[in-house]
């Protein structure tokens, strides 16, 4: 292993076989090259980072310490790149209220 690399090698954390299976769930997708799977895996990890970042920023902005559904929902509403997630995220107000209550309970359970 080369030890003179200044920049750490980015390694895929997600299992590429799983990512490939997920890609192939789309019936239109016939054949996926290994390089495509690798690129997708990396991009997905970067996407996760982006989503988490946007979400906990909202958590913090509201003075809470536990990231909940509402923080992700807000991130999805506020960011154009996340608009494709609108169908995945529960947005209804009753749910939101239920989540608030649930968060309080979770926070109590998590401890200080």
């Amino acid at each position: 292993m080369s030890s003179d690399a200044a920049v750490p090698t980015v390694k895929a954390a997600f299992p590429q076989a799983r990512v490939k299976s997920i890609m192939r769930e789309d019936k239109d997708v016939a054949s996926v090259g290994h390089d495509a799977v690798f690129a997708t895996t990396l991009a997905t990890e970067m996407f996760l980072e982006y989503l988490v970042e946007r979400s906990f920023a909202n958590t913090r902005a509201e003075g809470r310490r536990v990231v909940g559904y509402r923080d992700i929902a807000k991130a999805v509403t506020e960011n154009m790149d996340l608009a494709f997630l609108e169908d995945v995220i529960p947005q209804t107000i009753p749910v939101k209220q239920a989540m608030e209550i649930r968060e309080k309970i979770l926070k109590q359970q998590e401890g200080p």
């Binding site: 090698t9 495509a36 991009a43 996760l48 979400s55 990231v67």
Partner: protein
């Protein structure tokens, strides 16, 4: 083969998910010390990632078909990222991909010789020394067999 098992047609796109442990690890690595992520939220984030994969594959597939190619390649994924507004990911993905390619090539080359951890120069030196020793051995053998002063047989 189990013919009763329903495999065809299904529109169930959420059957596969990313390993929860890996998702949890990546999330935790990113979190500041004072904020935690609820378990349900982690699961939701994992689902979002799966959606993202579908989004990218679908777009990359379109690109691939446009070029009348059969296999989705890395460049199609890159193009998809660009078209979907994730162009900021491209430099890092590209760099890691190039790096990965280089590492894979080196690993393949390396596995063809034993990995002794020596530099190519050191290996060459060792090899030259071994050849010299072998030659010397042969030379002395020839001398013993044919009597003194025999010329070493030309043997490569």
């Amino acid at each position: 083969m189990d013919d009763d098992y329903e495999t065809g047609g299904g529109a169930a796109e959420e059957d596969l998910s990313l390993p929860k442990a890996t998702v949890a690890k990546l999330i935790n690595e990113m979190m500041p010390p004072d904020i935690v992520c609820a378990k349900e939220t982690r699961d939701l984030i994992a689902e979002c990632c799966v959606e993202f994969i579908h989004l990218i594959s679908s777009q990359a597939n379109e690109q691939c078909e446009k070029e009348a190619r059969k296999t989705i390649a890395g460049e199609h994924v890159i193009k998809a990222l660009e078209e979907l507004g994730f162009e900021s990911y491209i430099p890092e993905v590209q760099e890691a991909y190039d790096d990965h390619l280089k590492t894979t090539k080196e690993r393949i080359k390396g596995s063809q010789k034993k990995d002794t951890g020596l530099t190519p120069e050191e290996l060459e030196e060792m090899q030259a020394a071994l050849f010299a020793k072998a030659r010397a051995r042969m030379h002395s053998k020839d001398l013993t067999a044919e009597g003194a002063g025999g010329e070493p047989s030309a043997s490569g």
